[in-house]
Amino acid sequence: MEHPLNIFSFLPSEIIEKYLHVLMTFVVILISLVIGLIVSRKNKMVPDKTQNAIEVAVNGVYDMCMDIMGKDGKPYFPLVFAIGLYVLFSNVLGLVPGFSSPTANLNTTLAPALIVFVTYNFIGIKKHGAGYIKHFMGPILWLSPLMIVIEVIGHISRPVSLSVRLFGNIFGKEVLLMVLFMLVPFLVPLPIYFLGIFVAVLQTYVFMMLTMIYISGALEEAH
């Protein structure tokens, strides 16, 4: 799937074909750093417009965290917010002409999914020690060999489903846009852009929500 005219067209075409998602990720990192620099300047007690907007976002995600993970989940809130920021800006960047979504590539979406997988298992082992295996064993003791196999398969399907869900949504939107541009370039692709905005925000929300649910599942006591 070629991306003909984008902001990095001055680079040779071998680099563009293979590494476009990495270059676009640099743009996303740049945007996140700029927002961080804006926020970390001197904050007033009575917030002005930009500080107000960012406080709304942070408070919203913090309330979601407290709802789902409880008080134990407070150290993991920066991870959730960072993943949300990264996925949101990556998704929305594809709607700007001249750029393309880095999350339209399976490598980009696999990275946060694997990080979430390793993190919630690490949290479970850190909190429960060797008793973390009880999360996999199920309620009845003599059924536990079967239950361990089923639970391990379910747990391995979690990073797969996280990455493929995000990749499929954004890549499908891009394929649809390309097909419509080939067929009727005049006004017909415009509703797909509205769909793209909705899907970008929704998939970010779902990714953050699933991260918090997995972490809360690792933090809670086993039955």
Binding site: R165, N169, Q203
Partner: protein, 105 residues
Amino acid sequence: MSKVLRILINVALIMGAFSASAFAADGGASSAEWAIYLGAGLGIGIAAHGTGIGQGNATAKAVEGISRNPGASGKIITPMIIGLAMIESLAIYALVVSLILLFVV
């Protein structure tokens, strides 16, 4: 139906079943491309079938819950959106398989 009509329909079905091998007989390089396109199209079609039914059920129950208790509409809509995204992801898996079939195979 009459006996002649039944015989004709059976002949047509058997001829159709055997014509698939006739396509494989010509063109050694692209021997089964029709199967790729057929699989890609049918895969996403059947997936859309199931996800339409599932999301319709989810939205129907959510709207019924809102109608019973209009004040709780915020608390109902949030799990409904999450549920719709979960159900949609099953169709997205089928879409990814179709895209792999079309562009990689």
